[in-house]
Amino acid sequence: MERMVSELPDIGARVLIIDDENQIRKMLKVALSAHSYEIEDAATGQEGLNKVALFHPDLIILDMGLPDLDGLTVLKKLREWTRIPIIVLSVREMENDKILALDLGADDYVTKPFSMGELLARMRVALRHATKTEEEPVLSYGGLTVDLAHRQVTVEGNEVKLTPTEYDILKNLVIHAGKVLTHRQLLKMIWGVDYQQEAHYLRVYIGQIRRKIEKDPARPQYIITESGVGYRFIIKD
């Protein structure tokens, strides 16, 4: 189902789970071990921070609601010294925390309750981005191809004319394919730090891009909206 799965070197990757709920840890351990991940877990924020130094994980799954330090604090402390990919677990009602976590450097988020497939897909994307070293000149997902060298976009083999801004937005989404980008991150990438509040710019441009690349702009296949958070270029066949 996931096209990139087999190609990615995530077999045997070390994963640290920081969550205070015993049930969740147990469930994740079983499920992830079955997918050939090496698992270590921590029940508190402090324990988690210690284990990061000892265990040297390739990926961290961090719950936002911890009993001692809150998830955001743990995230901040981690980001002071490491770029290990971090996926945060959150609940639907806390959009603000998700955005904060992403802006603070979390790689992605999963909303509780989640399906295992969803979590695995996020983990793969995060691991892939972390291991990728050089930019490929041509990125291709499904029927959409972005030729970075020639600034050219084709859908099902037909070239699509994009304005420079539209192209910049699409390019950034495609480079981070599979990963969510917050409004703020996108705005900063395209317009610079002064425009981080102007979310309506994105609404307008994303609408325009969708009309050009999607079959049905109301049911997008490439750029999906993560409501209240940002946008994600979806990796799917």
């Binding site: 639907r92 420079p164 801004t165 307008v204 409501s227 209240g228």
Partner: protein, 877 residues
């Protein structure tokens, strides 16, 4: 307490023409007779001890239940009487005033309070002490009547007339059987003149006869006996700010009594005839109050012309008789001002006009005027003289012609009129005329004039001076009154403005006490009853240092119970330092305001107490409205939460347990005997688990949303949203529920971005989609249509199926409400109410549209703002 509410005690008045006729004796005799019939009788108050009374005093107990021969020992202690609660209490001399230190200044007020407690009272009264007969009696006897009793007491009383002949009375006087009242410093012989006594006897007899007649009429009326009724007379009394108006009022009351007519007292304020100063307003106020106490309806009008207004109201109210006072000023002034009486008489078609001649008015008025002129002092007069002298000197050194000289002399007249009033202006004019005459009009240095036409000039000069003086005087007085009124209104307005922003009672009270303390330069406190009904201080002004024993509990309770003002200068406990004002509304008394001036032994002015009363009323209103709204909210909340709780338990327990049951069932089967099932069975069981969790997740989400909406924690995170995008996300998230359901979209092309909370609107669409899915056959299409209508975005979600009944269209948005037609489909009744909450929080509306064979839900969102322009297009788009 209940007794007091349900039954008023019966009052029996033993009425006589004067003292000495044997009222007290007859009263005691009657009381004794009652006692011997087994009635619980006691003596509340006897003013005079006489051997004649000994028998009764020995046999009828006092309020403390002791039998005493010392009549004077039986003090009038109202609280003791109320506590003792006899069936009948004897209180002598209804009209007398209480000694200082008592609760009420007048004894009849004690009696009223005792009657209110359901205790019957025997009392005595002389005819000349009846309020409405007071001035007639004064006219007859030539003596001042100090204490009177309002007619309302006589109206509720049974009257027993004690009548003896003049000869008998004189005999009693000679044999020492008459007790002269303490204050009777008059010569008894003079008082008991044949003429006097006969006139008073006649008055008493007539009064009683009238009452009997009235009772007969009442009897006939209540028993519906047809008879020759007097035509419905209506009497109008014209009231003004003069003390003489009291006479008009009393006369009207007597007329009204005689005709058994309704009557009203009317005051017309015009620009020319306003009370002028504070004293005038006070007099007017007391006149109107007198009229009210005598049973008149009070009407105050403003207009251009007194006579016209009077006639107009007379016509409106079908007045048949007008009572008006005869003006006291001379014919000349009348010609100048126009006579109200003449105009009323001229215009009174079919209305009888009674013109009443005045008595003591002129005295009071001139005294009042003198008093005012005294206030001016000598200084202005001196200045006036200096000014006239200066003008004379100027005129002497600069040789103007006579006309200009004369005109220059008008200057001091004008200035002194404008600044000091009539006196100095008249002085200026007289001096001016004299100087003009002596120094300038030939022959100079002599009062005589050659040309007689100068006399005319002098006369005009004087007239001008007097008129300007008078007008300036009046203007100043009016300005002063206006200023005071304005100050009062401003104070009230300021207070009301401060109160409005307060949201709780404590806030209001502390604002009020501090404003009042500031206004009267003193201290203030407010007492309200606590939950068990005991009055306690809720708020003190910050100026009070010592809060203990600051108020007199007894007075506070009394004021609270009776809703009447007491303390400092009022009729009740008048000698106290504090003034106690009830906070009352039409229905009930809600508390007591206590104020105390910082200046010792200082009585609050009428103006101040009026202002305080206004403050108290305003406070009462604000407090009561706050209390009422709080109570109403509480009640609503209780009813709602009760209903909710039931619905919650019924609905949630069912909705939560159903998926849990399926999950548990499936999981336990797999755990216990997993090997029994083949792969297909296991998958089926796991799918059940999956469905159960999805359903529970949705329910928990709904419950959380509801809780956030209810608790007010749902804060809109407004951002610019594209409705197409929201619909897209909602569709994507509804995928698991919708499965392969066909959903058609129609979104109008150029709908601008809207300002909304993306996630919440998405939730609304998801909920509506879920609903549409649930209530329509699975092979039918669901459509979403977004259009722009004027300044609103309308989104419709349409599915095929049974239209929602008319009666349910509003209710289905209520929490936990489920339409009868949908009982067979599971649901909590939360989804739509969440939609409603969210849409209304956005300032939009949600409703069900009527359509055949279809269910159409529509919500609207206002498009108020347009998104800001995109400034930084690198593309130049």
């Amino acid at each position: 307490m209940e007794d007091y509410l349900t039954r008023l005690g019966k009052l029996t008045i033993f009425l006589g023409a004067s003292f000495g006729v044997g009222k007290t004796y007859t009263m005691l005799e009657a009381a004794y007779e009652q006692q011997s019939q087994g009635v619980d009788v006691c003596i509340g108050r006897l003013d005079y001890n006489r051997s004649e009374f000994d028998f009764f005093v020995k046999n009828i107990p006092g309020i403390d239940n002791t039998i005493s021969t010392q009549v004077k020992d039986i003090e009038n202690n109202i609280d003791a009487i109320i506590e003792r609660k006899p069936h009948l209490v004897v209180i002598d001399n209804l009209a007398s005033s209480n000694p200082k230190g008592q609760r009420h200044a007048a004894r009849y007020r004690d009696v009223e309070e005792i009657l209110q407690r359901g205790i019957n009272v025997f009392t005595t009264l002389n005819i000349y002490q009846v309020e409405s007969l007071k001035d007639i009696a004064e006219q007859i006897t030539g003596l001042k009547v100090a204490d009177t009793v309002p007619d309302r007491l006589l109206n509720i009383a049974e009257i027993k007339l004690i009548d003896i002949s003049h000869e008998e009375l004189l005999l009693r006087l000679k044999t020492g059987k008459v007790i002269l009242p303490d204050n009777a410093d008059q010569n008894p012989e003079k008082f008991f003149r044949l003429g006097n006594v006969s006139a008073l006897r006649e008055l008493a007899l007539r009064y009683t006869a009238q009452r009997v007649d009235q009772q007969l009429n009442d009897y006939m009326k209540t028993h519906e006996i047809k008879g020759p009724w007097p035509a419905g007379e209506r009497i109008l009394a014209c009231v003004g700010p003069s003390p003489f108006s009291a006479h008009v009022i009393r006369t009207s009351r007597r007329l009204a009594d005689a005709f058994k007519a309704e009557w009203c007292a009317v005051y017309v304020e015009t620009q020319q005839r306003s009370p002028g100063d504070e004293k005038g307003y006070y007099q007017l106020d007391s006149n109107l109050r007198l009229a009210e106490s005598l049973g008149a309806e009070i009407i105050t009008l403003t207009g251009e012309n007194v006579a016209n207004e009077l006639l107009a109201i007379a016509e409106r109210k079908n007045i048949t008789q007008i009572v008006i006072g005869k003006p006291l000023h001379s014919k000349i002034i009348e010609l100048w001002k126009g006579s109200v009486v003449d105009n009323v008489v001229k215009g009174s078609q079919g209305i009888n006009v009674h013109i009443i001649t005045g008595g003591p008015t002129s005295d009071t008025k001139s005294a009042h005027q003198k008093n005012q002129e005294h206030k001016i002092g000598l200084f202005p007069y001196l200045l006036t003289i200096v000014a006239v002298t200066l003008i004379t000197l100027i005129n002497m050194f600069i040789g103007f012609d006579l006309l200009n000289i004369g005109l220059l002399y008008l200057l001091p007249v004008l200035f002194s009129a404008a600044y000091w009033g009539r006196g100095p202006s008249i002085l200026a004019s007289v001096l001016g005329v004299l100087s003009f005459d002596v120094f300038f009009v030939p022959p100079v240095s002599s009062i005589t004039v050659h040309d007689l036409k100068y006399l005319l000039s002098f006369a005009i000069f004087l007239l001008v001076a007097v008129m300007t003086g008078t007008m300036a005087n009046r203007l100043r007085a009016q300005a002063e009154t206006a200023r005071r009124r304005e100050a009062r209104m401003a104070a009230l307005y300021a207070l009301s403005r401060k109160i409005v922003v307060e949201t709780d009672i404590d806030g209001i009270l502390s604002t009020v006490v501090n404003v009042i303390a500031e206004t009267i330069d003193g201290e203030a406190a407010i007492m309200l009853p606590n939950q068990s009904g005991v009055l306690e201080c809720k708020s003190f002004s910050t100026t009070i240092a010592k809060k203990e024993n600051w108020v007199d509990e007894e007075i506070v309770c009394w004021v609270f119970e009776h809703g009447k003002i007491a303390g400092n200068g009022s009729e009740t406990w008048g000698e106290k330092d504090c003034l106690y004002i009830p906070l009352k509304t039409e229905e009930k008394n809600i508390g007591v305001l206590t104020v105390k001036s910082n200046h010792h032994n200082h009585f609050l002015s009428t103006e101040q107490s009026q202002l305080l009363e206004a403050f108290a009323n305003l406070t009462a209103l604000s407090v009561i409205s706050l209390q009422l709204s709080a109570e109403a909210q509480q009640a609503r909340y209780f009813v709602k939460s009760e209903k909710l709780r039931t619905a919650l338990f019924n609905s949630i327990s069912h909705e939560l347990r159903t998926p849990l049951a399926s999950i548990m069932g499936a999981v336990t089967s797999l755990l216990d005997e997993g090997e029994l099932y083949n792969k297909a069975d296991r998958d089926a069981l796991l799918l059940t688990v999956n469905e159960g969790t999805i359903r529970m997740n949705r329910l928990v989400g709904n419950l959380l949303d509801m809780a956030r909406l209810e608790s007010g924690m749902m804060q809109l995170k407004n951002e610019w949203c594209d409705i197409q995008e929201i619909i897209g996300v909602a569709l994507q998230r509804s995928n698991p529920t919708l499965q392969d359901r066909k959903v058609s979209l129609s979104i109008e092309e150029d709908i601008a971005l809207i300002r909304a909370d993306f996630v919440l609107i998405e939730q609304v669409i998801i909920n509506l989609l879920e609903n549409a899915n649930k209530y329509s056959p699975s092979d039918t299409e669901i459509s979403i249509i977004a259009t722009k209508v004027n300044n609103e975005l309308h989104v419709r979600i349409i599915n095929e199926g049974y239209p929602i009944p008319e009666s349910d269209r509003e209710k289905i948005f209520d929490k936990f409400y489920r339409s009868i037609t949908s009982q067979h489909i599971t649901g909590t009744g939360l989804g739509l109410s969440i939609c409603k909450g969210i849409i209304e929080a956005h300032g939009g509306q949600i409703w069900v549209e009527k359509e055949e064979e279809k269910v159409v839900f529509c919500f609207s969102l206002p498009i108020i703002l347009l998104p800001p322009e995109i400034l930084c297009g690198k593309d130049g788009e």
